[in-house]
Subunit: 376 residues, 2 copies
Amino acid sequence: MRIRLPLLLVLSLLIGRPCPAQDQPPVDDWKPASSNQPGKDYPQVNSEGRVKFRIVAPQAKSVGCSFRDSSEFTQGDDGAWYGTTRPLDEGFHYYTIQIDGAEVPDPNSLMFFGAMRWGSGVEIPARDQEFYALRNVPHGQLREVFFHSKSTDAMRRAFVYTPPGYDQNPDRRYPVLYLQHGWGENEYGWGAQGRAAWIMDNLIAENRSRPFLIVMTYGMTNDIRFGGLRNFDIGPFETVLVRELIPYVDAHFRTLSDQPNRAMAGLSMGGMETRMITLRNLDTFSHIGLFSGGSISMEDVNQTDGFKEKVRLVFVSYGSRELDGGRSRRGDPQADMAALKEAGIPGHFYVSPDTAHEWQSWRRSLREFAPLLFKN
Amino acid sequence: MRIRLPLLLVLSLLIGRPCPAQDQPPVDDWKPASSNQPGKDYPQVNSEGRVKFRIVAPQAKSVGCSFRDSSEFTQGDDGAWYGTTRPLDEGFHYYTIQIDGAEVPDPNSLMFFGAMRWGSGVEIPARDQEFYALRNVPHGQLREVFFHSKSTDAMRRAFVYTPPGYDQNPDRRYPVLYLQHGWGENEYGWGAQGRAAWIMDNLIAENRSRPFLIVMTYGMTNDIRFGGLRNFDIGPFETVLVRELIPYVDAHFRTLSDQPNRAMAGLSMGGMETRMITLRNLDTFSHIGLFSGGSISMEDVNQTDGFKEKVRLVFVSYGSRELDGGRSRRGDPQADMAALKEAGIPGHFYVSPDTAHEWQSWRRSLREFAPLLFKN
C-alpha cells in the first residue's frame, strides 16, 4: 500500500529511523558505500540512508545526481563537488551523475546494467542484509555460458548458477529455475545487483532451500529497448527460452528435466514474461514466480487448460510502496492468491516491507520464493 | 623493436594501411565500435584505426579524451561534442572522457577494469580478430567461484575457465594454467578484455590446444594499488595462490594436480609475479609464461635448484613496440630464450607485431602460449 504520511511517521518512529526534517543537517556518520569501486571513499552513506557524493570536476559550472530531492551540489575546500540525497530506501538504487548537462556514470561506483546502460548504483545498508551477503559458507558457481540460437541467428549469453556440491555429486540431478530481469536490464542483473548466487548459497547453508540451478538470460529478444513495452511481443523470447535455451541447459547440465522440476520467475517485465510464457507452456513449467510483475487470477486459471493439475506454485510479490491499500495498478494480488488457495491451488503472496519497485524487493522475493520450490 | 619511421612507412604501405598525415581529414568510413554498450552508435572507429567520440554535455565548456594527439572536441549541430583520435594500434585500449576537468567513463562504452578503475575501453578491429571472436563453436564456461583465504581472512573471487566437454566427461581430469592480470587490473581482465575463454574455445575447436583449465584471481594481494610497484611484496599473493587457491581448485575441479600439469603465466606485473612465484615453487609449476613481464636468463637458471630438470617450458613475449632493437628495458629476452634452448631448456620467444604494452599483445601471447602447454 502507499502509506500516508501520519502512518509513515509512526512506522518510522517504531523502527528507529526518525523521519528527518529536510532542514536538519544529515547525521554525520558517513561510511563508504559497499557498492564503491575498490579503494574509493565516495559515495558515502549514513544511518539515515542518505548518500553523499564527491565528484572531481574542477571547471564544471554545475554538478548533480539523478536522485530527486537531493541537495544542491557545492564545491568543497578541495575543489571537488559535494551533494547529498534525501534518505533512501534500504537496498540497491541505480543513479547517474550530471556534469554540466552530461549524464555520466559516477567514476567511483561499481557498474551495473539498468535503464539500458552500464552505470552507477549504490547500496543502502539494510537491516536484513545478511541474507544476501558474501559469507564464509559453501559457495556455488555462477557460470557464463554461450548457446547458439537458430531463431535469432546468434550466439547468446546465459548465466547458470550451480549450487554448492554440484561438481562433487556427479550422479545427482537438479531442478531448474529460469529467472528473468526487468525492462532495461540484462542477464547480468540477478547475479550482480540481485545477489542471486549469494542468496541461494546462504539459504542452502541454512538448509532453507533445496539446491537447484538458476538460469538467467537476456529477455528483450525482440529489441524493445528503445520502443518501450508497447511494442512487446513475447514470441521471439519464448522461442529462445523454451525451444533453444531449455534444451541447451538440459543437454549441458545435470538437470531434472521433467515439468515438476522446472520453474520460471521474473521481476517487473520479467514477471510479465513469466506469466505469458508459463501460461502457454504448462507442460514445461510447474512453478511460477511474479515479482512486482503482475498476478494470476481465477479468471486466468479458468481460461488455461490444465492449470489446476499442472501448477504446483504461484508466487506473487510486491514492494510495499508499490501497493495502495493492498492493490497494485492492475488489481488485488493478495485477493488473487487467496482465491487460488480457496480453489486448491498453492498461491503465495509476499510483500517486501518499506521498499518500492527496486532490487531490495526482488532479493527478498527470491529469498521467500526459493524455499517454496520443488517440494515434490 | 621500436621500429623507426621509414620502416614503419614501408610496413604500413605493405599491409595496406597508409600512414595518415595529421593534416588530412579522417577517412569517412566510421562504424560503431564492438566495445560499445548495446544500441549505442558511438564511439565509432574507421579503417585507419581512429576513434570518433560523441559526448552529450550541453553546458560544458570543454570536452576531451585521454588518447594523446586527439583532435580538439567541438560541438556539432546537435549540440553534442565530437572529437577524433590519431590512428590507434589494433586491439583494445582503455580511455576516459574529460568533461570540464572531470575524468569520467564514456557512458556509451562497456566497462572494463584497468588503471585501478572500472571505466571505458574501445576495440580497434584487428586483422587477426577472428582468433578472439565469439564464434559458433563448442564453448567452455567461465565460472565465478569464491574461496576462503585464511591468510587474508577474506572470501576471495576467482574465475575458472572450464573447456568445452568438461561437464560431459566426468572421468577426465585436466591440466591447469594460473593466469594473472597486470598492475591496476583485476581478476575480470583476462575474461573480459583478454577474451581468454573465446581464445581457448577457438584454439580447441581447431585442435590447436589441449583443453585445460584456466584460473584467474586478483594478484595485488598486499594492496599496492596506490603505492605502486615499489611497495611490492610477493609473499602475500604467493601464499594465497600456492597455499590456498591451488588446493581449492584441486579439491573443487577435476584437475591433474601434479607438477607437470600446472602452469603459471601473467602479463606485465603478472609476469613479474609469475617469474617470482614459479622460480620459488618449481615443485608446483612446470610451465612458465611471461607476457611483457620480464625474462628468465641463464643466470636465473643457474641460481635456481632443479630448474633444468623441472621446467618444461619458458615462454617470453612482448609487443613489438615495447622492444628497441630486440631489447626490453631489462635486457634481451630473445637472447635469453636462445641461451636457454642451447642449454637444453625449452625456451620460446614471441613478438606481437605492431602492438605495445596492451591487451592485443597479451591475447596473441595466450594464443601462441596455449598450444605449447602440457605436451607431456
